[in-house]
Point group: C2
């Protein structure tokens, strides 16, 4: 099977920098170096993009669930779109792609990072290659039963690229540049693996998801405290016992009271307020790179 990589931007309709980059690339192919890798690029959720919203009915990036692929009669724009994308570009689709790269932005100060879902070998291999080249942190999202059905999980290998901070609906020079840089590096490394001309690192640093926490809420369930100024924009910074977490207008500071420290990520991401997530906690771990991972990626690409 010919190697083909699916590139997705605008899985969330108000994350517009990747969409814009793809449109300009469509007009002038020379603005982006694909290193000879064949790609299909799509806007994940064009209806949401038109509406200037994250989604129309449901979050598309939570709609790639086994059961939603069975509901042929869904009237949800996102469930229909998830089905369509898999039919068109899935591993066994009309225009088959083996790898999916899904470009997102965040309002949190995450810088550029990679998100992997679960511990699939090919994902970890590709993420390790990029971490080795660009030094990007890897957020391993797992063990969260409330957050499932991510797009990349419907492909045998897939990464989410998150870049921030940037508000929803804003075109920004820095974000576009970062998106372009990572996209080109991903295609370069995939090209190298295809040519069996690669260098995998011995170790990789993983930020393993532990749990998410909600905002403080009053008795009616309304948010009654905001992220403390000492915590705002401190993604990837160690959070220790007694560090400030939230602030309430009555002057009360809510502190982090657990004994064990965490690394918080996605602090105050605007779109997670409705998911009752003020931030997520991770553990930073040094993992050995396993040679099965490498083989898994090579097998997929060849």
């Amino acid at each position: 099977m010919q190697l083909q990589v699916l590139l997705v931007a605008g899985t969330h309709g108000n994350e517009i920098n990747g969409i814009w980059l793809f449109e300009e690339w469509e007009k002038s192919s020379f603005v982006l170096n694909t290193h000879g890798v064949k790609t299909c690029k799509v806007v994940g959720n064009p209806e949401a993009k038109k509406a200037g919203k994250r989604y129309v009915h449901h979050d598309l990036n939570r709609s790639f669930k086994e059961d939603s692929f069975l509901s042929f009669n869904s009237s949800s724009i996102e469930e229909l779109r998830a089905n369509e994308l898999v039919k068109l570009y899935g591993y066994s689709g009309k225009n088959p792609c083996q790898i999916a790269l899904d470009f997102h932005t965040t309002t949190s100060s995450m810088g550029s990072c990679l998100v992997v879902y679960g511990r699939r070998e090919a994902d970890l291999a590709l993420a390790a290659l990029i971490q080795n080249k660009l030094g990007l942190p890897i957020y391993l999202h797992e063990s969260d039963e409330k957050q499932t059905g991510f797009l990349v999980e419907a492909w045998p290998c897939g990464l989410v690229i998150e870049i921030g901070p940037i508000g929803q609906g804003i075109l920004n020079s820095k974000i576009i540049f970062q998106t372009k840089l990572i996209l080109e590096k991903l295609l370069e490394q995939i090209h190298q693996v295809k040519n069996l001309n690669f260098f995998f690192p011995d170790k990789l640093i993983i930020h393993r998801h532990i749990k998410s926490i909600d905002f403080p809420r009053d008795q009616e369930g309304h948010i009654d405290g905001y992220v403390h100024s000492l915590r705002q924009s401190k993604d990837w910074h160690l959070l220790k016992k007694n560090d400030a977490l939230f602030y309430k207008l009555n002057g009360e500071t809510i502190k982090f009271e657990e004994d064990e420290p965490y690394i918080p990520v996605f602090i105050n991401e605007a779109a997670y307020m409705e998911k009752n997530i003020a931030m997520s906690f991770t553990k930073r771990e040094l993992w050995d790179f396993k040679k099965e991972w490498k083989q898994s990626l090579i097998d997929l690409i060849h």
Copy 2:
């Protein structure tokens, strides 16, 4: 007539920091010092807030036009709401207010600033008092036939308070604190004028609106360049001939080519993209404070 000040937050439904401040204030009156001034506080566009959008049908802050007050049969949520607000809280309304203070946020790096529409004497007097106390820049919006129908224009005196940068739909500690500080200072100064215990400055600095410019566009009208990294977040900084303005992915930098320098404001405000505004240009001017302005404000308040 008893002095009463209308406080509005969420005239744009996705500018949520002021709304949140008002809600917390409603729950515990002590979180905000009104200096004894009677206030009515409202969410400008509650329907848009519910939808997480700037507006539902039209921008509410462009809907306070003479002719829309004549269209009793409007089906636009915002035209109906504009009518309702004037009927409820207008100078001749059910619960009359003489002054309207409209709290906004912006995705541009405007810091905290005041916007006055046209050259109404009482507006300029109140803005001068605040500039004298807090040093805030004043943006005088006028001579723009495409942008009219602002909320505060429907009251005899009114200011817009703009605070940024903050993405749409994000609660932020700094923005909430800035909103609270300016609101309290405004009420303090109004209280002082009521007690004839005030100090008006001799001069004020005005940033006078000259014109707005659009993004670069291709032949089909799509935006094909973004704000240059050297211009991004440089609101209030002098723009001179040959300074970089926009960047296109083909490597081309579009420069500012006029001989006369300007001070740009609202650079890359997310909500202005649909209005074809990439930024606005102003002239910085030192104006003499006129004693008629002071009298006009005193007359209104007494």
